[in-house]
Symmetry: D2
Subunit: 354 residues, 4 copies
Amino acid sequence: MRRVLKAAILGSTGLVGIEYVRMLANHPYIKVAYLAGKGSVGKPYGEVVRWQTIGQIPKEVANMEIKPTDPKLMDDVDLVFSPLPAGAAGPVEEEFAKHGFKVISDSPDHRFEPDIPLLIPEINPHTITLIDEQRKKRDWKGFIVTTPLCAAQGVLLPLAPIYQNFKVDSVFITTMQAVSGEGYPGVASLDIIDNIKVLGENYDNKLIKEVHRVLSETKRNVNDSGNDVTLSATTHRVATIHGHYEIIYVTFKEDVNVEKVREAMDNFKGEPQNLKLPTAPSKPIILTNEDSRPQVYFDRWAGEIPGMSVVVGRLSQVNRRAIRFASLIHNTVRGAAGGGILATEFLVEKGYMD
Amino acid sequence: MRRVLKAAILGSTGLVGIEYVRMLANHPYIKVAYLAGKGSVGKPYGEVVRWQTIGQIPKEVANMEIKPTDPKLMDDVDLVFSPLPAGAAGPVEEEFAKHGFKVISDSPDHRFEPDIPLLIPEINPHTITLIDEQRKKRDWKGFIVTTPLCAAQGVLLPLAPIYQNFKVDSVFITTMQAVSGEGYPGVASLDIIDNIKVLGENYDNKLIKEVHRVLSETKRNVNDSGNDVTLSATTHRVATIHGHYEIIYVTFKEDVNVEKVREAMDNFKGEPQNLKLPTAPSKPIILTNEDSRPQVYFDRWAGEIPGMSVVVGRLSQVNRRAIRFASLIHNTVRGAAGGGILATEFLVEKGYMD
Amino acid sequence: MRRVLKAAILGSTGLVGIEYVRMLANHPYIKVAYLAGKGSVGKPYGEVVRWQTIGQIPKEVANMEIKPTDPKLMDDVDLVFSPLPAGAAGPVEEEFAKHGFKVISDSPDHRFEPDIPLLIPEINPHTITLIDEQRKKRDWKGFIVTTPLCAAQGVLLPLAPIYQNFKVDSVFITTMQAVSGEGYPGVASLDIIDNIKVLGENYDNKLIKEVHRVLSETKRNVNDSGNDVTLSATTHRVATIHGHYEIIYVTFKEDVNVEKVREAMDNFKGEPQNLKLPTAPSKPIILTNEDSRPQVYFDRWAGEIPGMSVVVGRLSQVNRRAIRFASLIHNTVRGAAGGGILATEFLVEKGYMD
Amino acid sequence: MRRVLKAAILGSTGLVGIEYVRMLANHPYIKVAYLAGKGSVGKPYGEVVRWQTIGQIPKEVANMEIKPTDPKLMDDVDLVFSPLPAGAAGPVEEEFAKHGFKVISDSPDHRFEPDIPLLIPEINPHTITLIDEQRKKRDWKGFIVTTPLCAAQGVLLPLAPIYQNFKVDSVFITTMQAVSGEGYPGVASLDIIDNIKVLGENYDNKLIKEVHRVLSETKRNVNDSGNDVTLSATTHRVATIHGHYEIIYVTFKEDVNVEKVREAMDNFKGEPQNLKLPTAPSKPIILTNEDSRPQVYFDRWAGEIPGMSVVVGRLSQVNRRAIRFASLIHNTVRGAAGGGILATEFLVEKGYMD
């Protein structure tokens, strides 16, 4: 049996924080030991948290007191999950790493530093060796590992087996993202009732840039540099609570049979599956052939580890060199907390959490 | 001054019917003379209509009695607007045409008959000569002219100037359509609260097929058959009341400068503009450069003739041979009733309504 | 250990049907043996059901075939759960009862027959003796027991302890009900986006009439006939999926201290609690003192048996003879399937299911 | 012809600000002369405003520059409309009044000062004489007049004719208010999708307190002090954009015939109607007998001056001493900007704006 790891959750009352709490409640070896917060320090977690997810607040956590976000108070903590918002996350995470904490971050602030992994364990597992470089260079006892933007993961998981096995030319993405992606209070109701909120160029580019980095770190079975892949995204929020839904058109440099693509997606597995990590779904991609699926309300919690698989449907041949599919990712689970936990389990297995 | 044309509106209490009533209330020469309905024959229009649009029920119409859908009762009528649902429309429209009525249809039942125009007056105006062929072949005193599916018009209006002037290779469409597109009661609330309704392959193909027909009838300034253009659509309903929003990626057979595309869209005009038809907006395409527009709530009624222009935004260069834009069309106005009225005005001008 | 009861679920793919399936998946002695349906007979349940609830389709049910609603095919069945719609339910339920089946109905068709119980086991348990009368009078081997309308149960559960212990004068009810209460497709999205759907006088009165019947069967600790209690309701649907929320003003014939009312609610228990029935929550009424609760999204699944408790909040003294509170009931659980299962468990205990 | 009054609008880009701009665009004698703002000073109004209302931005206003909220820059201004948020409004409005400006405020900060009118011109017109007292006491050249909270006006307008003519005992109010009532960004989408937002005790009491003040200033035709009327409110936001909908139960000290109440409401008129003020609807209360009306989407813009009448329906006798009705008010029109303009017109007529 593994040694129990004691985890602190920063921003523990936020929309990603609650998924960490929910998913760790029955984890075999990661235990919530410290709930950090800002506005409600000193209060019992169960009294102040907005439990906008499935199930109920785990009893053992409900009475825990919310504490300050201060590394000096966390003697007993092994690792730190950080779903802090952009801007706030950066300096805090660095301070924790300096103090020797292993930081698993769902925040954007360190996603483009070359010595910090941007990790989806099924796709770019080898990038965890950047941790060694990072520690050396920064003289940190701890380290930071980041996970990509929820919407980027919704593209990357189904795209990975395609990119690995086919000569991709272009990827054209249109997103319909849930409001929980902006946190609470986040999206104004006046922007979303009887409306579609356009996220704009900055968000489009952020998504693309993250997809680009992870693809560039993906090992391929085809003889193709991949440097010239065109990526474009048009991003939106619609009136859904959880679940980012994305339509993805992929064109290729040579003829591609959509059935081969389907096969590649269906067989897609990575180290988390090989290692049977506790939070790894047996299938990272669940393929549906139903004409009207995936649907956000009905499929976002799919899979034996609810919310950890991307559901892909509407896969079809557009022409000899183009295909189309829809991808649905649970943004606060696989796209954030669940992705962070899976990354941690992988790091444990690889000896980085000792 | 033009002779006043007396119009009957079939399905006059439906979501398109009310837009006909609203738009014709102040029309210079088309007058609502007959309100046809089904469930509420004999009742005053104002008592039974569900006025799900802007403004208030025109006073002169509120007290008109709803009458049966029967050509024999319409002695005094010159033309018939038919926004009847699929299946129901077909035989009714034919009966009216046989009886000598000019039928302007927003219904799908006759959209693919080679002798019946599928008309957007800015795009394929010359197809109205099919009417002559139609009358001869079918031995009808009247005729049928159809308008395309709302979502197809949302693609076609911005695509026309591109197709006319550039060598288009592929068009990849993702739609987020309003619930009014399915009529009332139409989309179930349980399909649309906290959800995205996937319309599926049949709807995708229907859209594509209509776009294909109209493009094939579009005159081009480039030396290119256009027969090989790839069209693909992925269609959805989201929780908006009116306004179909569509993200369109276009790839080309040669390098294209997005500024040239912008120019072509901005200058796009057709016969309705040249003829200054009463319901023709001076700009069929309103271009916005705002990063977060068009938005459904704020832009669906844009233009000096509210809802008759398509609002295009997010236009950008994806790579040397690809661009991307967003198109917003008011589905029950330009995409249905307004399109029907504009077609009628054009037919008047061309002598087909005498 | 109890003998296992084999249950048929009529309308098994409907919104109440799925809650029966979900709640019975782990039931200690009621087992789903027959899934009846209409449109999808012959197909596997998991393929056609619209699983609009929490969790996933139980594996052992997913592959069961949907069968016709025919008592002659149900040799092996002990009891029948009937959440059929109004009108359809009446004759079907009678046929089943004639054929010897015990029918537990959530349908309105038999709610006002004097020999058929309208049962909330915590409130009017003694009315189950009507079954004996019913069988005799109708010469049925089986029987019918009904449960009240979801919205009526949302009033009755919190009102019962008040009515039992205080001299109630009037009850003024305003409801904001979820769309699932009308089944699928049910409420049109065009009635509910940016709107409140007014249910109107018939629905108002239906609710009141059911509350009235159950109150008239409620045993009281006060010397007061109760015949003259004024009941009034104003009913609506709002854009929520599950959970009926109701604001209830109660006036009294004498001074009442709200703290005594709170106490009565807090101590409220009935036979299901005394008998520790498997689906009985320890507290049928969960009281909250939080100023902004109950809220539909956050509280509809409250309680150790999710959705089986009514959550009451905003309880306050209006004046010496009036109080106010909010009640939230999960309409398809306690208000339908859960209420039916609880009724069954109670009947088992009382020997009516042998 | 009246002298033209030049108006400044504070918070001109806000949700009430835009209604001022819209309604004054064609006003016979009040002209928008100064658009004050905060975040967007120096920019053209049309470029930054979020036009979340009907119609389009008036052309003559679209190019006006947004200017600072500073009385010293407003030489040319006669009166100031202030829909500033709570807290911010107080000192600003006082400064303007000191500088000699007539301030019409929709803000809460001065609603309970005994020398500042809380004015609904149909109900308590005589309270404008408080202005004289106010100026004397505070030594102001200008003055402040306030209008009540939108939700309070939705109660007060239909309640006034009842209170004037019958011996009211209690008023029990349940509200379902639109999100625009909290301004932008205001209500979080995560609080309102698939949820009802409970406003809580403070809001309940605020509403009651305002209703109480205005009722206490209402002249009655009955011999009854009215001091002992019980008022209670339970307040909520639901997923509607504009339009506060309220269910109101009224009990009386003696028997009341609902038809007499209907008559009183139907005949209700005040000074604005007698004086034929430009923004006064001929009927401040529009009564509907339709069973399913008023509905927010369909009725909020009712009346010949859209949004200036309250629509009352569902009026019915509950018992001999109780009635029930539904009231719908357009919160940003009659409940704010329109109410402010009507108050101004009344003050003009009474010589206070000279």
